[in-house]
Symmetry: D3
Subunit: 309 residues, 6 copies
Amino acid sequence: MAVFSGTAHPELSAAIANHLGIKLGGLKITRFPDSEIYVKFEESVRGADAFLIQPTCAPIDANLLELLILVDALKRASARRITAVLPYYGYARQEKKDRPREPITAKLIADLLRTAGIDHVVAMDLHADAIQGFFDGPVDHLTSIGILSDYLATRNLDNVCLVSPDEGRVKTIRKIASRLRAPLAVGYKFHPAHGVSEISGLAGDVRGKTCIVYDDIISTGGSIDEIVDTLLAHGARPEITIACTHAVFAGKAIERLSRPEIKEVIVTDTIPLPAAKRIPKITVLSASGLFAEAIQRIWTDSSVSSLFD
Amino acid sequence: MAVFSGTAHPELSAAIANHLGIKLGGLKITRFPDSEIYVKFEESVRGADAFLIQPTCAPIDANLLELLILVDALKRASARRITAVLPYYGYARQEKKDRPREPITAKLIADLLRTAGIDHVVAMDLHADAIQGFFDGPVDHLTSIGILSDYLATRNLDNVCLVSPDEGRVKTIRKIASRLRAPLAVGYKFHPAHGVSEISGLAGDVRGKTCIVYDDIISTGGSIDEIVDTLLAHGARPEITIACTHAVFAGKAIERLSRPEIKEVIVTDTIPLPAAKRIPKITVLSASGLFAEAIQRIWTDSSVSSLFD
Amino acid sequence: MAVFSGTAHPELSAAIANHLGIKLGGLKITRFPDSEIYVKFEESVRGADAFLIQPTCAPIDANLLELLILVDALKRASARRITAVLPYYGYARQEKKDRPREPITAKLIADLLRTAGIDHVVAMDLHADAIQGFFDGPVDHLTSIGILSDYLATRNLDNVCLVSPDEGRVKTIRKIASRLRAPLAVGYKFHPAHGVSEISGLAGDVRGKTCIVYDDIISTGGSIDEIVDTLLAHGARPEITIACTHAVFAGKAIERLSRPEIKEVIVTDTIPLPAAKRIPKITVLSASGLFAEAIQRIWTDSSVSSLFD
Amino acid sequence: MAVFSGTAHPELSAAIANHLGIKLGGLKITRFPDSEIYVKFEESVRGADAFLIQPTCAPIDANLLELLILVDALKRASARRITAVLPYYGYARQEKKDRPREPITAKLIADLLRTAGIDHVVAMDLHADAIQGFFDGPVDHLTSIGILSDYLATRNLDNVCLVSPDEGRVKTIRKIASRLRAPLAVGYKFHPAHGVSEISGLAGDVRGKTCIVYDDIISTGGSIDEIVDTLLAHGARPEITIACTHAVFAGKAIERLSRPEIKEVIVTDTIPLPAAKRIPKITVLSASGLFAEAIQRIWTDSSVSSLFD
Amino acid sequence: MAVFSGTAHPELSAAIANHLGIKLGGLKITRFPDSEIYVKFEESVRGADAFLIQPTCAPIDANLLELLILVDALKRASARRITAVLPYYGYARQEKKDRPREPITAKLIADLLRTAGIDHVVAMDLHADAIQGFFDGPVDHLTSIGILSDYLATRNLDNVCLVSPDEGRVKTIRKIASRLRAPLAVGYKFHPAHGVSEISGLAGDVRGKTCIVYDDIISTGGSIDEIVDTLLAHGARPEITIACTHAVFAGKAIERLSRPEIKEVIVTDTIPLPAAKRIPKITVLSASGLFAEAIQRIWTDSSVSSLFD
Amino acid sequence: MAVFSGTAHPELSAAIANHLGIKLGGLKITRFPDSEIYVKFEESVRGADAFLIQPTCAPIDANLLELLILVDALKRASARRITAVLPYYGYARQEKKDRPREPITAKLIADLLRTAGIDHVVAMDLHADAIQGFFDGPVDHLTSIGILSDYLATRNLDNVCLVSPDEGRVKTIRKIASRLRAPLAVGYKFHPAHGVSEISGLAGDVRGKTCIVYDDIISTGGSIDEIVDTLLAHGARPEITIACTHAVFAGKAIERLSRPEIKEVIVTDTIPLPAAKRIPKITVLSASGLFAEAIQRIWTDSSVSSLFD
């Protein structure tokens, strides 16, 4: 077993290696002055069961291309099996054509990874389940639901209600709600009557409740902002907890999450969170143990499925 | 241009050919006594732009294998391009792994079609948008929303509300609602409190309204039955209209749709509906014109996208 | 090593597992009400050397599609190698184009299996040897000649002659004849003179002999019926033995085999023979030991070739 | 349309071009002193529908590799479609594994041609029909039966019998026999009784008849020699006609064909016959018209199937 | 014909379109706040012969990924043929492994382009000729030698000598020298004697001559700086002209080119040159006419080869 | 581990096996009278890590096709990994298009090898480094520089200068020069002035020196002949040593190498050198130890890279 880290998220890679009780493999990654990437593995990988840890978060072009180049180098150096550990799968929200003449970039990325030489993928909380089918080979699809639920349980929140900001996350919200034994509510947009513009509705009763909103990805925080407004309008207590797996936190995200009705923001470390964005109310839970366990089991051909849920 | 029909749905194929003003191509399809399929195209397809019409509805194994064999024969007979017109895409609901060691059959089917020699796919209202990405080549993804909405508009229903039976169809319901300038409601399942078993909830106000429920596929009618109960419990008028694209109608479907609170059931003809199931309240709208138009445009390299929505 | 059985022939799978001294792997295979197949492996197959036993006999569409879906599930569950054990290879007689615009379905099936994820194939008495070449990877091609010959030797038949019903099986008949140290005869169709319609001829002297007719597949029994007539017309003793590997027995097969001049019908169990068709004169020899031995040797990288002849 | 000739059989290529009323495309093919082949097309082939004429006869390695290199050059020069016209398909008799650890070279050749960039194949009288299935794309499989039969009909032979030297050609012999309205006979090898070594048998009555023996390929003439002996032993007239499609004529072939009981040897020109081997009794019928017609029809997307039989 | 421009070099694309007398196709390319690229073609490309102009210069990751996504969108929108016009091919200098466990990124890029759906490539002055072989399909390899030579001829320089800065460009230098009917010289590094460190040598006599140095790519200008030193040391006139195809101009390039002994720097516009780098002594010759001509000829299936040299 | 030898160079294969302390695997290779190759492995290769030794030297067509057929047989016999050991890679000098409508045969060969079933390649001193990139999988690229340099060091030559006959080998010459701590010189062709025909130039001072000329391949010896003339014209001592890796020695090579100013010719045994060409001044150094070591390390997953330089 040889575990290597791209440059996207060295802290997570180090934490995974620490859990595994190993050192990360020697690997040189640099840039030429004209922006071209150069990589070189510093130790033999011949016959190795190689794992590459690289979330394809921003800067997504650079992180993705670096990953592809690393895979090419491993393949040509006779690695026996190459597993890409992708804590965050960029472009996951472009998994379909919503309009004509758009790409399906999430599928393209899967094809590029296969072309470079990936044999196996480990991912977490993919935005759409069908992305698993974009790969021809095995995908071990981990989830952070356990990590988030376990932490939330320790908060001893009272009179809780789990909230999905839109219809896309109801399936996940149900799983968290069932672990916390709490009711759920769902936000949605609708036209209440003819000629009236779209407004935010809410299914479920949140009056006086302590709401926990979960989304898989928080990008600019726009939809979180809206659901918080909606929850407050429906009488929720102004002590709302926000949870997400992938803390993209682009644009105005931090500003929006700073509003006082949001009491705590719980995220995992699938994407590096720069110090400047680490406002006090953010709690980062590490998924490194889960990734380490998955790597260990893949390496030893043990069942990974018990980590799925 | 040469348009051929498999044996899955000859009525639809005939209707499409009629719209195009052409005769269906000569094609012999038989079975040997041991159940093996035998096919032979009765006219030259050399250099042809060939279209094969075959919904992969039940008996799904037979219809799918027949389609694959037809494609193989076309390919070996030097057809220039082979387009599969798949009014219904079977196995679409197995587009992801929900549990470990399941297949992703919707992807497998796409791969089998590519292997047999398909260049291009025309489909309608795929259960999950990401299925488009399961194909490497172009997919023209038609929708019956226009057909259904236009018909509904002619019914002059009063005080209408569009209803999605679960979170999966909200996106489509929004499109119909916006055409009919009507509000919407969404059914969902939830645990109202700790220790209480799952019940059906409803987002949106349906009191005294004439509800139109849409689902893409009605299989055994179980979820339609539940949403009707829920709507009635929330005060909807007992004159509910059910609309769907793909009338699978397996098991108890007809029995369930026969309940008196359902006034009309509107479906399209993507799947053949045997006479025995054609109860009076069912209205079948033909999608044949839409498929004919798509074939015509593909053949002449005109834009198909205006048919998408 | 993990050995799984599709639903085509559970008795044969059980017999193979028994020979191997193992339990068949846990596997759930069901149908949804709309006819779609659902499968789920009940135990981890990660890193496994997996064998799937499934003759693609009638209902051939169902058995084939089930096999493809099982392979897809195994592949996505990280099985290391997937071997399809195909005691009977359906569509083997469509291995060429006899007329323009026909498919070559036997090749299509091989391509579909490769696409689904098969690494290795074990087959028996393929109708045409060239079908081995339809696969890119290894095919272990077993034969039942040894089983059949050994059994025939125990019958102590007197003054025996081996008979091929047509030119297609002469090669196999020679092998059996050389094991039984008996002469052979070959049936064929010919026009004896200008303007005379085709009749059945026979090469070789069968006068007063105890004939053993071998064919690889008996489907409706039509050609067996004809060769029996021919043999009797050429003076063979009316105590004819029929042997075949693959007892398809469709249509009027049992009726035809019931004629009194046929004394015994010897078949193997590559295809399940329903109780209703098990008339007393049929002797079923099991190929399960041979398949078990092949699986054992493939698993241990021992030579399989000694099983070939 | 652009038609090019490799170096294997320039006479045939010239004859085909003559039938088409075109000039062969400019093409330079040379060898470096170290035996490497160098090719260069002398005119633009961009967008061309290119046909390459090259039987893969002896020296088979050279002819095959030259063909592959020509295809590579055409592909890289942007030809639109590349059709290999293969009057003789070398290695066709290695289309299966007869023993363990043999190759299936006929399949390998098909794979190599696809890899180089072949889109389409035109072949004649392939040794095994299943070789068509070794290709993924279209194969136009011509036959010389018409040419040979038409010529034989002009000979006004009396009391004719068509003879297949072994079981492998019975299917073809039937077609010729039905055109000439003559009976047929089949040679075969068998053990007449226990302990007796294999002898040549003959099915059908040839006493006093004028025999026409057909085989697809005559290599060293060994099996022709044997069937002639057998025919004479069974009372055939010592004025035997030999017909074949592919005149390989290796080793002692000419010597064997020179025996006086063979009156005429009819072959086609799929393989070049050097002057030294053109003994007077050999009649060479040209297949060039048939190949020209096939090329013409492929180019104009007309049906080729009427040329098949 | 439809010609589209990525965002890498809109000026070049506009110039090419101008030469062709067409408008560039409508195309929307934006970024989401989290850095993901979004593209949408604004007009139908169904059946189109589509050309995408995109040099993969810095920022190379972004330009490359954008190109791949554009190709994916074109492919799924049913473009008939997709040609990538790559005025500059990034990563071309990583076309081999110089050390173990390096990637061969130039091959990887070719594979990624093929996977995305490229059918055809137009490139200019590839760093290594063998890169053409990295593609399976046609590559039209243009050269700027004509443009540069024609311009140099107009300068009426006296007593000229063409200089290659190292052994890698001698082949190109010969072509320019033969057009200008001038002698040549070659720089190289060597150890003049045992124990002496490597120094720059020069083959050819440059004493009192007006030197023209050509390199395919000028990145940081380091090797240009060295060859200028060497030329001066060998007595060349301090009025040196530098010519290159691909003006990468990274790092200290402009500073180095500013030294007074360099009189003029002639480049083409395969890479955008920002205003800040456009020092007066730089002359930019446009390759847009050449690319336009190549596109025109590819579209009309005319010969492109006359543009190669 | 199983090591097999094709017929191209049995002496080298035997020497490699001897170094490994193993017997070469049993393998039958014959020709049919019509020139077709027949191969059969005489022992089980199921699950084997198989190595095939075959330089693709002249007769190159035969050696290459034999190699492809051997690979096909190994693949179908279930070998686990197939490594082609290619001491000499024929067609390496056709690795690019120099003129339009040429092939890129070096890439074609790589593609053919992959199609046949090669997993891994071991090569030596490839003519162009980029050929490594023609393969998708790992290439272990050995070099004879160490062997040649070590031998040269033992010759105790005085006042040595390393010479590259043209610009193509400067990179290699530098490596040898640095091992021998000697200066270098480079031959080249140039036009010394307008209107003067091309002459041979030389960079570097060879006056009174003992020159060692290295080229990777010596085919007809023409360029060696020219560089010797040039060296003598520049005052080199008439005791020149010639070294090369691949002794093709076609055409007039031996005659040219016999000139008295060439004192010794040092080659390796990557290509068989027939006795008739073994003139006394030729020294053959064996690369067998290097190949044996590489095979040993590949088999044991040890690092091969230390053998690269």
